[in-house]
């Protein structure tokens, strides 16, 4: 194959070389010869009008060029036929040179210069002219002679020669002057010679023309043949080289095809291995035999597969080991993974559930109603956020038993951020629930048990102080008041403790109801007025009319307002001072602001103000009772309603508490 390639390449190169070389084809040589011969003949013909030496030089040059061309031609490889033709050309050319030279000789002889005949008899003409010029009749005759002379020169016909001769004889007879007669004879002599030569020249020219024509014909024929043979030869070369190129191309294509084929075959093999691995033959690897880029790819692939598998095994093991039940579902709710803990809790085995729709196998229901409670899973799938199920969910085992469970559903994202599935974690919390229930029951009972004596105590005190059993001696009043206050504080404390525990358990305390804030604030104001009066604190309520009705926890919001006002009044710093409550609806929020001109909250205490049981360091200076629970509970209440609570304070100057609750959290729903 390599030899073929080399030979074909050589063919191509040779052709190219021929084409590009400076060697002039034979054709051109013949053409040149033809041109030179024709130009040579032109100069012969032009001789009459050109000065002889220029014409002769030209003619000689053309002949010489012709010869050169012919010699160059012999440098080509000529066939026998071509050699014969060249010989013929040589013969003709010899003749041409012969004839040409004779013509040239004649021209020289006739010549217009002083050496030529025509030059020579010019003197005679002048002499005779001078003699006859005086005599009109002679002059006329002389002019006639000259006319005939010119006619001959013009037309070169023998008739005019005879006419000249006759006219000269006649004039001679009329001439008296002896010398004139001699001169006239001399003129006639020269003229006849020149005429004779001229006529000969005509003959020679005719012959010359014939010879030129011969050369022409030979060259024409020859050129035709050469053209054809040149064309043949060139087309032969063209065919050879074309074939050679085609051959080279075909071979190249074959070689390339082979190479590609082998690569593709290997790639196909790699793909096959990949498919096998994907379909489950996880131990299959590419067998590497060569040592090139592809085999390095194969090795990398094998290594990568090993890594992936080991990671996968790790992940699987991980999944299996999770202590809580873990189920992975895809975006169509089909179960993909189901760990041993899930098996234990649900009673189903992995084989039973894999591939099944989640909601057909695992039943999550509401504890009491028995209705489906698994919407949180769908929510995780749709929203892409982790969802926690509420604490009232039970799972129905395969044997029908209900188990209290706590769950979360977390979306699984792929690398593009799309949700691929959900992983659900759940735990048997029966024990926990029981514990919680017990705790709750405990709290309920405890608070009930605490409230009962406190409650009756309160009423008794109130009844006493109202004078139901008669007027209380003045001295006893303050004592009883103190007792009543302590009692009130205890009641509130018990309530708060109960609230805290409920909030922490995530249990709902009360229901939201449609609340007119103005009404609530008025109520609290009414309650606070006596206390404010007592402390000589001015209470100012600024309530905006534009506050809409809101869905709130009435008791809680009331407690918050009461707490804030009560604190403001309490910490107003001794006697005097002003407490302002502003309530407005702006920026789609309910805003309540309670400001006082009291003792303020020291910077050092400000972080802790909302923590349970915390009382600022300067609170005791006022001799004011406070459990310190109020603010933390109030904040919890506000946050439960979706709002925020914060404050600004300067020691000795006062404090401002802010409550902001977004409208959409507490908007009244129109249930039409």
């Amino acid at each position: 194959m390599f030899v073929f390639v080399t030979i074909s390449v050589w063919f191509v190169f040779d052709l190219v070389r021929n084409v590009l070389s400076n060697e002039v084809p034979k054709q051109t040589r013949y053409l040149e010869m033809e041109i030179n011969i024709k130009e040579a003949s032109e100069s012969i013909y032009l001789y009459d009008s050109l000065s002889s030496s220029v014409a002769i030089d030209q003619w000689e040059e053309n002949i010489s060029n012709y010869q050169e061309g012919r010699d160059l031609l012999l440098e080509y490889e000529l066939t026998d036929e071509e050699h014969r033709i060249v010989n013929r050309l040589d013969e003709v050319k010899r003749e041409i040179v012969n004839v040409g030279q004779r013509i040239i000789e004649i021209n020289q002889q006739i010549g217009l210069d002083n050496n030529g005949l025509i030059g020579k008899f010019r003197n005679d003409i002048h002499f005779v002219e001078d003699v006859v010029v005086d005599r009109v009749d002679l002059h006329d005759m002389w002019l006639q002679i000259r006319r005939h002379e010119k006619d001959f020169l013009l037309h070169q016909d023998k008739i005019y020669v005879d006419q000249v001769e006759e006219s000269v004889v006649r004039l001679r007879q009329s001439l008296q002057n002896e010398e004139a007669r001699e001169r006239l004879d001399s003129y006639l002599q020269y003229f006849l010679s020149a005429a004779d030569l001229t006529l000969t020249r005509i003959e020679l020219q005719r012959e010359y023309r014939g010879l030129i024509a011969q050369i022409d014909d030979i060259l024409d024929d020859e050129l035709q043949n050469i053209s054809t043979s040149e064309v043949d030869r060139q087309s032969q070369w063209a065919t050879y080289s074309f074939l050679a190129i085609v051959l080279v191309l075909v071979l190249s294509v074959l070689i390339i095809y082979q190479a590609i084929r082998s690569i593709i075959d290997r790639i196909d093999y790699y793909r096959q291995v990949t498919t096998d691995i994907t379909e489950g033959d996880i131990d299959k690897r590419i067998v590497v035999s060569e040592n090139d880029e592809l085999s390095r790819l194969a090795e990398d692939f094998n290594e990568m597969t090993d890594n992936i598998l080991s990671e996968q095994i790790f992940t699987e093991t991980l999944f299996e080991s999770i202590g809580d039940g873990a189920i992975v579902i895809d975006s169509t709710m089909k179960i993909k993974l189901f760990n041993p803990a899930a098996e234990r809790i649900t009673g189903f085995s992995e084989d039973e559930v894999i591939g099944e729709r989640f909601d057909e196998v695992i039943k999550l229901v509401h504890d009491e109603t028995g209705h489906r409670n698994d919407s949180f899973i769908r929510k995780a799938l749709l929203d892409g956020e982790v969802q926690y199920m509420d604490g009232t969910t039970s799972l129905v085992r395969n044997d029908g038993e209900k188990i209290a469970v706590d769950d979360s559903a977390a979306p699984i994202f792929d690398s593009n951020g799309n949700i691929k599935g959900v992983v659900i974690i759940f735990r048997d919390v029966t024990e926990q629930r029981k514990l919680e229930e017990n705790k709750e029951m405990f709290f309920n009972i405890a608070s009930h048990q605490l409230r009962t004596p406190l409650g009756s105590m309160r009423w008794n005190l109130e009844a006493l102080l109202a004078g139901d059993e008669g007027e209380i001696p003045e001295k006893m009043q303050p004592i009883l008041e103190d007792v009543k206050n302590s009692n009130e504080r205890l009641v509130k404390l018990v309530n708060d403790l109960l609230d805290i525990s409920r909030i922490e358990q995530g249990r709902q305390i009360d229901e939201k109801e449609v609340v007119d804030i103005k009404e609530v604030i008025d109520e609290v104001e009414h309650q606070m007025l006596p206390i404010a009066e007592e402390k000589n604190v001015e209470l100012q309520m600024i309530i905006d009319d534009s506050i809409p009705q809101l869905q709130l926890y009435r008791r809680e919001i009331r407690d918050v307002v009461e707490n804030l006002l009560s604190n403001a009044i309490k910490y107003s710093g001794g006697e005097g001072g002003k407490v302002t409550l502003e309530a407005m609806f702006s920026g789609n929020n309910l805003k309540i602001q309670v400001s006082d001109t009291g003792i303020g909250i020291p910077k050092s205490d400000q972080d802790q103000i909302f923590s349970r049981f915390y009382r600022a360091s300067n609170a005791t200076t006022l001799n004011v009772q406070g459990t310190g629970i109020g603010l933390s509970v109030s904040k919890m209440f506000v946050e439960k309603m979706g709002g925020k609570m914060w404050f600004e304070s300067e020691e000795e100057e006062g404090t401002v508490f802010h409550v902001v609750i977004p409208y959409n959290e507490v908007a009244v729903q129109d249930d039409a």
């Binding site: 009930h448 009962t452 004596p453 409650g455 009423w459 009844a463 229901e511």
Partner: protein
Amino acid sequence: MKDKKYILVIEDDQAYGRVFTRKLTHEGYEVKWAKDGEEGLKMIDEKKPDLAIVDLMMPKIDGFGVLKGIQDRGFQDDFKVVIATNLSQNIDREKADKLGADDYFVKSNLSIKKMVDKVRENLSKN
């Protein structure tokens, strides 16, 4: 002269029982006090009150039991029944409501004055 309204207090706590009785008597009502649900229903059978103030957490028959007993007797439209408890769960409130209670309040959250107002309010309801 108007007849005194008869209020039946069904309450197991001694102190509450006494303060209810004292106060409401002071306000001009005729007050009787049953110490548990069973006694309460018995007294209802003897004479229907104008208003019954019923505690929830009681031994033997509790407040719900009393409500049910009243319903069973078909007395629910004959007089007003008010639940006065120190439990404050919504569930209890709902349950009481379903069983025909006309009102529900948490004792320890009300001042005695307010309690009296509630009584008056419920008595004047139709």
